[in-house]
Each structure stands twice: as structure tokens, then as C-alpha cells.
Symmetry: C2
Subunit: 392 residues, 2 copies
């Protein structure tokens, strides 16, 4: 086990009706709130009215900024920073999924920063402070409700970059599985692929003596695999949503990766798809992950055989780990298919035109600073291109 | 799944050499530290010198108070409060195991409280504030390094009471498994029994639809059961200690009990043993737990069969859940035996004299306010007496 530093202070307030507590919950932390959200769905479902009523009841002032889109844009972040400064906002409440939360975090660190907030994403500058962010989660997927991470797309340069700081961890995240009942069907699969990927990126490792986190990863994956088909079949299944939603938070609060070298190649490869083609992050991950596994499993056959056995329920012979490993990957593909996820780049509407460009961007080769991606198996741009080609 | 509120802000700094970072870690949080510890062991092992060197290097002032004993005493807590007030302490650093941490938390909440700190334990008063506490852990067992709980013994009245508040969660907890190498052999078993009990108290429940936390509990138990015999055989096995130590923290930071009704009868029954006989908490739990399981399993045969199957590796027929459940309990006894833990009250030096008194105290019947204990199976004082009798 590696040395590690675990810090996950986000308070998770979970369960039926919890969105109505938001005013009381924020009161000790806020005086004037920026209410940040996406399109009109929270108005259609009545959530917007519930949040406004709760804030009003607690005597909290607020201004609002809607319009967050998937793969959230730098332009709206800049608008939010300007608004928040003018209105003297001291807390940001994200009502939405990962895109809205990530946009909120970007605004939060941009407010006290004198330069342009893109500096943090582009140059990795450390931040001294950020306005606190809280969350009402409407899409279980990104895990941003418990993490200190944010991913923003710069639409001018077609770049999608991530940034992380402990100072960006939300203060309070409210999760009511009832709010997930109205999600469009494809969002269910995307969310599941995203949270599973957050576990895979931590799970596949050469680090030995990681029994506890191996097991935590595996049981969280099993929980998702057991319950996700239930919510797809019946989007009003509270109990199944509760498992999937809670698992999505546990998947990304950091715990499952403690003491392990992590990978993160699939996220790197996917960000390039989203940056150019604006595809759903979870859809991109569902296409890339089995291809990545097929490309790299020989690097660590024991790990993939363990995944196959403990997560995918493969009962093959441990005297033939390779066939066990391959059967595990095959079953993961079948699971994604069952979740009605895209299987190929073609399904995502991506042709061959930009594959090499994306491979070179993912590894920095396009910017003359090539650095292989992936913790378990280092991938050069040619490897990334090979994986993209496996996905055609 | 029940609604829940999860908040575990303690930062865990884990790994080799981490005790030498304590000065730098505390610097943003402290100016004058109360260094609180137990007997002379931290001086013998050189840990005391390392801590003092690190505090000095960071320019932190400190005063010290040693003398914490297992089942930590109210008298020392009162002395600590007096000292901390006089010295204007703004942070308490516990260097030790659960007893030292619990004593530190008691001092922390006693400092700003105008009355006697025992009021909190005795009357359950809510606290408004507490001086922050940080930890260097030397005994993995109590999980107090991540919890907001404290248990103190009032030696005048022979009462041992617990108290909990989010305000008592440590700020930073340093865990270096190398510090566990010199633990006396019996402490290994006690610690393991204690952390396993923290999981059992959360695990055994009637709450349905708790797949994720079922699985998190089970894999944490399996990790302990796999690695604890390794540290007993070789107390310098870093990797095995890392698993056991990390598991002890995960066992008690709250996560494993989220969304579930919890039990806690074994802890209640054990506190009475320790209060009168001053036995090691883990030793008492090792004796009581299998007896409690035998007494209550019929209440929830499926849960105990799941425990037997998933944790203890029983491969019996699911058409005979009862025999599967009983085999699981039998194997747990064998595991405790393998860990060289006491098996009976006699092994703990406890005879029949006070069994009824302890049963009545555990349930409040001795104080004319009887209230059954146990979340899964309610136990009246007669039930507790029956369980004590099973342990003779």
C-alpha cells in the first residue's frame, strides 16, 4: 500500500425530501447564494420552486444563473464570476448534475482570482481560496458532489481540461433519489458508465497489498451492476436509485483510490472525444473502456482475472487467468449493451477524421509536450490511436 | 435504505514516516498544543522525541499531559481541562490509541464548557464548540481517529459512558503502520475485535435495500480476517498492518452504517464489564459478540446466513439458512480463538457476582429508567443477563 492523504469533508444529506432542507442546511454557511443550474428541467419538475421556497424560508438572499450545458462552457463560467462579484455572493448552490457542479466550482475559484479562471485549468495553478459550493444533485454520475474536481470545456479552443483542489470539495451535498426519477433514459446509462469508470480508473493498478480498497472497489461495482438495470427498467425504483446514487458518490470521494497508483487513461482519452464532438462523457467512456481493457489486460492479467471473478461473476479456472480476464471484459461489454449504451465510435457519431489528432492531444504530442497517459499501462499517442481504432 | 447524513471530515495522513509531518500538518490549525498521551511507551519507542522535534521545527508551542490509561478516567480529563485553560491551548494532539483520543476529545469539549464535562456524558447535553483535536495513532482499534465519539469512565461512580458530536471529529489523524510493530501481543487481538465489532454493530440490521453498505461492511471484515492473523504471526508485517489499520478507520468513520438501522447492543453490554472490572474493551467484545449472535440470530436468519456466506466463507445450502448462519458464528469463534482472544467471562476474570447488576445497568433498569438496548433485536435486562450467562 502506498502512503496516502485522504480528505473528504463533503457532508452528504441523503434521502427522500432532503431538497426541502437546503435553506436550513446552508444558513450557517451563507448569506447570499448564487443559484446555478442547467436548462429548464428543474423548473418543469418543480424542484426549482422547492429550492426557492426553502431558501426564502431560511431568509437567504440569492441570485440565479441558469444555462449550464453538458461539457460545461468556460464562457458561462466567466459570466458567473462577473455576476457573483457584482452581487457579493458568498456561497454557490449547484442544482444539477456534474456539469452544473463543475461549472459552480469554476466560478467559485474564479471569484477571488485576479486573472482569468482558465489559467487554473490550462496551467494548473494552485488556488489559495474559493467561495464555498454546495449541491442538490439531480444526476448521479460524475461524483462531483463529493470530489474536489472540475472539468470545463473551452469552446474557443476545443479543449476540455480538468482541475482539482481540496478547496473545491462541496460543503453540503443533498441527494434525494426521487429527483432521479425523471432523468431521460440515456442519462441513466451515461451516469452508470461514468461512475463505473471512476472506480476502474482507481481499481486497475500494479500496487500490491491493497486488499481493502480492492474490495471496496469491487463491492461498489457489484452494487451498481445489480441495481442499474433495475432503474433502467423502472426509473421510479427508489431503492435501486438509492444504491446507484450512493455508489456514485462513494466511487469518487477518493476513498476507493487511497494507497493505490491510479490509471485515468480512459478519462484522458474520453475528454478528447467530448472536446471535439461534444458527446456525453458516459457514452464516450462506455465505448472506450472495454477497448482499453482489451488493449492493456496483458500488462496485469491477475488484476483483470480478479475483476472478472469478483465483479463480473466469472467462474473460470485460475490456471488459465487470461481466459478468465477476457471473459470478464466480454461480460462488461454485455452489461453496457444491457444498459443501452453506445458500443462504438460510430454510435457516438465519430468517424476516423480526427482520431490521430485526438490521440496526439490526449498525450500532449499535439502540443510538443508528449507525456504518456495511464498509471497502470503507459500509453503513447500511438497506443491511444490503436485503442480509438479498436472502437470503430 | 433510510435517509442519512454523512459527515466524516477527518483528514487521514497515512503511511511510513508520517508522524514526522505532524508539526507542518498542525501549523495552519494551531499555535499552542496540548500533547496528550498514555504511559511511557511513546518515550521508549522514540515516537515522543519525533513528535517533539516535528512540533519544534514547525515553531509550535506545546505543553504535555501523559498518564491516560485504558478505559480513560474522568479525573485526568478534568486535570487536562484545567491545564489547557491555564495554558491557553488551541489544539490538542492525542498520541496514542482510542483511550488517549477519547480523553483528548473530553478535554476538548470541557475547555469551553462552564460546567463539569461529565454533564455531556451523563445528561447528553449538546455542545456548541470544542477545541480541535488531532491524532497520531499508535493502536488501531477504536476508530476514534475518524469518529466524533468518546467514551470515558467515571471511576467514582463506576460508570462508563459514551458521547458523540460532529464537533469532536479529529481535524487530522496520522496513521503510520510502523508504529504498531511494538504493540503488546494481546493488544492486537483486542484491536481487531473492537474494529470488527464496530462493523457488526452497523451490519446486523432489519433495514432492507442496503446493498452498498452490506458489501462495504463485508469486504472490510474480510480484509481484517485475512490480514489480522498475519500481524499476530509477524508484528512487523507492514503491509498486513496497513490493511488492518486502514480497515479500523473505515470501520468507524460512519460510512458503513449510513442508511441502516444500527444495533450497538454488544457495545452497551461490554461497557458494563469494563466499568466494573476494567477489562480491555476488545476482550469483552470478543467474549460477548458470538454469544449475542447465538442469542439473536433467529431474529434475522437471512442476515446471519449472508454474514456466514460472504464474510466467513461458509458454502452451505441456502435451503437451510439456519445451519449456514450457525456455521458462520462457529467460524467467528474460531477466528477469535486464532487471534488468542478471551472466550469466556472467566477468561476475563469475571465471575457471576455482578451479572444481574450489569444487565440492569446496561438497560437502565438499575436506575429505574429501563429502555431495551439493541437496534436489530431489542434486549431487556433479562435478555442481557441471558447473554452474559451464555458467556460463563
Amino acid at each position: 500500500m502506498n502512503n496516502f492523504d485522504f480528505y473528504a469533508p463533503a457532508r452528504i444529506v441523503f434521502g427522500r425530501g432532503t431538497q426541502n432542507q437546503i435553506g436550513e442546511l446552508l444558513k450557517p454557511h451563507a448569506t447570499k447564494v448564487l443559484l446555478h443550474y442547467g436548462g429548464g428541467s428543474i423548473k418543469r419538475t418543480g424542484l426549482y420552486d422547492q429550492v426557492v421556497a426553502s431558501l426564502n424560508k431560511a431568509g437567504l438572499k440569492f441570485v440565479e444563473l441558469g444555462g449550464v450545458v453538458p461539457n460545461p462552457r468556460l464562457s458561462l463560467v466567466r459570466e458567473g464570476i462577473k455576476l457573483a462579484r457584482a452581487e457579493k455572493i458568498d456561497h454557490i448552490l449547484a442544482v444539477g448534475g456534474g456539469s452544473t457542479i463543475d461549472s459552480s466550482k469554476a466560478i467559485a475559484m474564479g471569484i477571488p482570482y485576479a486573472g482569468d479562471v482558465w489559467d487554473m485549468y490550462d496551467k494548473g495553478l494552485a488556488i489559495e481560496e474559493a467561495v464555498p459550493v454546495s449541491v442538490i444533485l439531480t444526476i448521479p454520475a460524475a461524483g462531483s458532489e463529493s470530489s474536489g474536481d472540475t472539468v470545463i470545456s473551452n469552446e474557443e479552443t476545443q479543449r476540455k481540461y480538468g482541475y482539482g483542489s481540496p478547496k473545491l470539495r462541496p460543503v453540503i451535498s443533498v441527494m434525494n433519489p426521487e429527483l432521479f426519477f425523471t432523468l431521460p433514459k440515456e442519462q441513466i446509462g451515461y451516469g452508470v458508465a461514468d461512475m463505473m469508470s471512476h472506480i476502474f480508473e482507481r481499481y486497475f493498478t500494479h500496487t500490491k497489498n491493497a486488499d481493502l480498497t480492492d474490495g471496496l472497489c469491487e463491492t461498489t461495482l457489484r452494487t451498481i451492476i445489480l441495481n442499474a438495470p433495475k432503474v433502467l427498467a423502472n426509473p421510479s425504483d427508489y431503492d435501486a436509485w438509492a444504491e446507484v446514487g450512493f455508489a456514485g458518490t462513494v466511487a469518487h470521494n477518493g476513498l476507493l483510490g487511497m494507497g493505490r497508483d491510479q490509471d485515468w487513461a480512459c478519462h484522458g482519452m474520453e475528454h478528447e472525444l467530448s472536446a471535439i464532438y461534444d458527446v456525453a462523457h458516459g457514452g464516450g467512456l462506455a465505448v472506450l473502456t472495454p477497448a482499453w481493457m482489451t488493449y492493456v489486460y496483458k500488462e496485469n492479467v491477475g488484476m483483470f482475472a480478479q475483476f472478472a471473478t469478483r465483479v463480473m461473476g466469472v467462474e473460470g479456472s485460475l490456471r488459465d487467468l487470461e481466459s478468465v480476464a477476457l471473459e470478464g471484459i466480454r461480460r462488461l461489454r454485455l452489461f453496457y449493451e444491457q444498459m443501452e449504451l453506445p458500443q462504438t465510435l460510430r454510435d457516438l457519431g465519430i468517424d476516423e477524421e480526427n482520431l490521430e489528432l485526438m490521440a496526439k492531444r490526449a498525450t500532449g504530442a499535439a502540443f510538443d509536450k508528449e507525456s504518456p497517459i495511464g498509471g497502470m499501462k503507459k500509453l503513447a499517442w500511438q497506443d491511444v490511436l490503436n485503442i480509438y481504432n479498436l472502437c470503430k
